[in-house]
């Protein structure tokens, strides 16, 4: 029974740096330790990372060792193959890679090179509290251009031609939205900016507001001119005090310069903006709930249609655009629709900002052209998974989205392909998970969030999501029974079909997508009472291998609950009913006899 493979590179580069001797030493060492039947050494072709040679990869965990020497072999066998602890000093570390090593400018790092910063173009460049710096980089030129050279219909046509789609996650074409509002007849219309960013792990909008607030203000004025509105609201969450402060400063400066207010650029066009603060309700990021909240009522969604473009804020035609969507607009006006729609894929134009988080080397904010693959984002820009762990899935779209497994790493990131694999673009949170993450637990985390944030107006979401959560809690605590998984699916589909707003309609997505790609993990929890990732405490089993246990009694002495019994020089056993899964015994054991499964 082979339990692990050790791949040693036998390419020309590694061979010249002594890899055959390493493979030989490995085989000898394994035989000496009596592991020859369990662990196989494989000599492979070139991995293509010759500069890091000699290279060695240990499967099933996928630990990647670089610059291995013959002298390192005993340590790898003893520590990693016997005790299951990778030798960290040999694990390939991107930060020490010569790509970055010695680089003194961010512009020369792999993290930066693959990016294309449009929405973030001024973030990290200008002082957001000085309007003159924004103007220095063509600020307010786009507003000047539309007011003095273009008719509202031309602006809308330009937006349509550019192919810009909503960056809040749903991906509705911005030009079409504006067109609906422009065609609605009323003497009062509104432009609203949705800055109520609520997805866990997403902070793109916050960064834009804090780094380039004028871009959003300018775009809102352009939108106002296009649809015939003279008033705008920015609905920003109160948890973003710095963003709020900079917006206030920016609005005051724009008014002082006459770029907001009456008769802008002497064209007779009036437009002003007010701020409204959200009090931390996730549902207020849903457009109809957001409008209700601005009106001073409790933030609850309304049925659509009528859509806001027809009957929105205070019953008047309203457009609601996300921060990142707006941040793209001034440049589209100045550089033209052709420039913008030459970037990206056929149906998703431009770039998308992602907030990289979770098990990834370079956490941060990145902006990439649409159509970039997930693999490029995670490995080239993000620097891969730390500690030599294996990639398991990436979660996009927050609590409304889904997860993307390793088999879809080469999917180009755009609205439609993400939907086709059961996830969604979402607002841009991208959380990376490795082999240590339990997918049932992840689904439970997101569902806890939506249950908490459900406004309670409609029954499917209020009760349905809670019932789903109860089933997940049952499964993760080891009490799952036959039929639970099917019940989860049935609930998920009926909630999707019947909930009132986007929050409820998408709440089951994390469960459905983990079921789609990681059903085996659910089944292991329910039928084998086992958590494959070892995350769910209630299901973890710590056991002592009687073959390896030397009866040294160290584990019994350290156990805080007295769950371990045995006599000196005889194998010990753990009483599962007493064990609290703290893992103290595993750390104490010198023989690698104790394991968690």
């Amino acid at each position: 029974m082979i339990r692990a493979h050790v791949l040693v590179c036998g390419g020309t580069g590694c061979t010249s740096s002594n890899s055959p001797a390493i493979a030989e030493a490995m085989e000898k060492e394994l035989a000496a330790k009596g592991l020859a039947d369990e662990i196989k050494v494989v000599r492979t072709g070139c991995f293509g990372l010759c500069a890091l040679g000699p290279v060695m990869i240990v499967y099933p965990d996928g630990t990647f060792y670089s610059k291995v020497t013959v002298g390192d072999v005993p340590e790898i066998v003893e520590e990693h193959l016997l005790k299951g602890r990778p030798v960290t000093r040999l694990v390939y570390d991107e930060a020490a890679d010569k790509d970055t090593h010695g680089v003194t400018s961010l512009s020369d790092t792999a993290f930066y090179k693959k990016q294309m910063r449009l929405a973030l173009r001024n973030c990290g460049v200008i002082n957001p509290e000085v309007i003159d710096e924004y103007i220095a980089l063509d600020g307010y030129m786009a507003l000047g251009k539309v007011l003095t050279e273009m008719k509202p219909v031309d602006v809308i046509q330009l937006m349509k031609d550019s192919g810009l789609r909503g960056r809040g996650g749903a991906g509705f074409p911005t030009g079409t939205k504006w067109d609906f509002a422009a065609k609605s007849v009323s003497d009062k219309k509104y432009v609203v900016c949705n800055a109520d960013e609520g997805d866990p792990g997403a902070f793109m909008d916050r960064s834009i507001l804090e780094g380039d607030p004028h871009a959003v203000i300018e775009a809102m004025a352009i939108a106002g001119y296009a649809i015939g509105a003279d008033e705008g609201y920015i609905y920003v969450r109160a948890e973003y005090p710095i963003a709020i402060k900079r917006l206030e400063i920016a609005i005051a400066q724009a008014r002082e310069y006459g770029l907001l207010g009456k008769d802008i650029f002497s064209t007779g066009f009036n437009f002003d903006i007010q701020l409204r603060f959200g009090a931390g309700a996730f549902v207020c990021g849903e457009e109809t709930a957001l409008l209700t909240s601005i009106e001073g009522k409790r933030g609850e969604p309304r049925p659509r249609p009528p859509f806001p473009a027809v009957k929105g804020l205070f019953g008047q035609p309203t457009i609601i655009n996300n921060v990142e969507t707006l941040a793209n607009i001034p440049q589209i006006i100045l550089k033209g629709a052709k420039w913008f729609n030459s970037i990206g894929t056929e149906k998703s134009k431009g770039t998308k900002v992602f907030a990289l988080g979770g098990k990834i080397t370079n956490t941060g904010l990145v902006e990439i052209p649409m159509g970039t693959t997930l693999r490029e984002i995670i490995y080239d820009i993000g620097g891969g998974i730390p500690n030599g762990k294996k990639f398991k899935a990436a979660q996009t779209g927050g609590p409304s989205g889904g997860c993307i497994p390793a088999s879809h790493l080469d999917t180009p990131i755009d609205y439609d392909s993400l939907i086709s694999i059961g996830s969604m673009m979402g607002s841009g949170g991208l959380i990376v998970m490795d082999e240590d993450n339990c997918m049932v637990d992840i689904a439970k985390f997101f569902l806890e969030f939506t249950v908490d944030e459900s406004c309670g107006k409609c029954t499917p979401c209020r009760i349905g999501t809670r019932k789903m959560l109860e089933i997940l809690e049952k499964i993760t605590s080891g009490n799952g029974e036959d039929g639970d998984i099917e019940k989860l699916e049935e609930l998920a589909y009926s909630i999707k079909a019947s909930a009132l707003c986007g929050l409820g309609q998408t709440a089951p997505n994390p469960v459905l997508s983990t079921l789609r790609y990681f059903r085996d993990e659910y089944e292991a929890h329910v039928y084998e009472k086992r958590c494959p990732a070892g995350q769910c405490k209630a299901l973890a089993r710590i056991t002592i291998d009687p073959e390896k246990c030397k009866g040294c009694t160290l584990c019994a002495k350290i156990c805080p609950v007295g769950a371990i019994s045995g006599t000196v020089k005889n194998p010990h056993v753990i009483d599962q009913s007493k064990c609290i899964k703290c893992g103290a015994c595993m750390e104490k054991c010198k023989f690698g006899a104790i394991s968690k499964a």
Binding site: N122, S207, I208, G211, I242
Partner: protein, 123 residues
């Protein structure tokens, strides 16, 4: 302002200050001051830079200013130095003590402090 000409005049006046062209000897130092930068301790770094630049009598040639998110969370506080005709220098994980040295050796002495730059600091 009432016309596009006025806007364009501001742009021309400010352009050189924000994007330094070749041949401009001024130095622009920006400190990442979005929520992430501030929570990592960017404010004392900015204060130290401003104080030290004044103390060294560099205020005429060096502008120190705040900016938004540069995007590299795990390296905050981040300070970038722009100089006309030269590649910008990215300093990461800055502290007031490091900032003093950057002012003395780089802004005054003209030699970047390599060990504080992005390629030489572990995330």
């Amino acid at each position: 302002m009432k016309s596009l000409q006025e806007l364009a005049a501001i742009r021309e006046k400010m352009k050189d200050k924000v994007s330094l062209r070749e041949g401009v000897n001024d130095i622009r130092v920006v400190v990442g001051m979005a929520t992430c930068g501030i929570s990592a301790g960017a404010r004392p770094v900015l204060n130290t830079l401003v104080e030290e630049v004044a103390k060294e009598g560099l205020s005429g040639a060096v502008t120190v200013t705040q900016t938004g998110c540069i995007g590299i969370c795990q390296f905050e506080p981040v300070v970038e130095v722009f100089q006309g005709g030269k590649e910008k220098i990215t300093y990461v994980k800055m502290t007031p003590v490091k900032a003093k040295r950057v002012v003395a050796e780089h802004l005054k002495g003209g030699k970047p402090v390599e060990e504080y730059t992005i390629g030489n600091v572990k995330a």
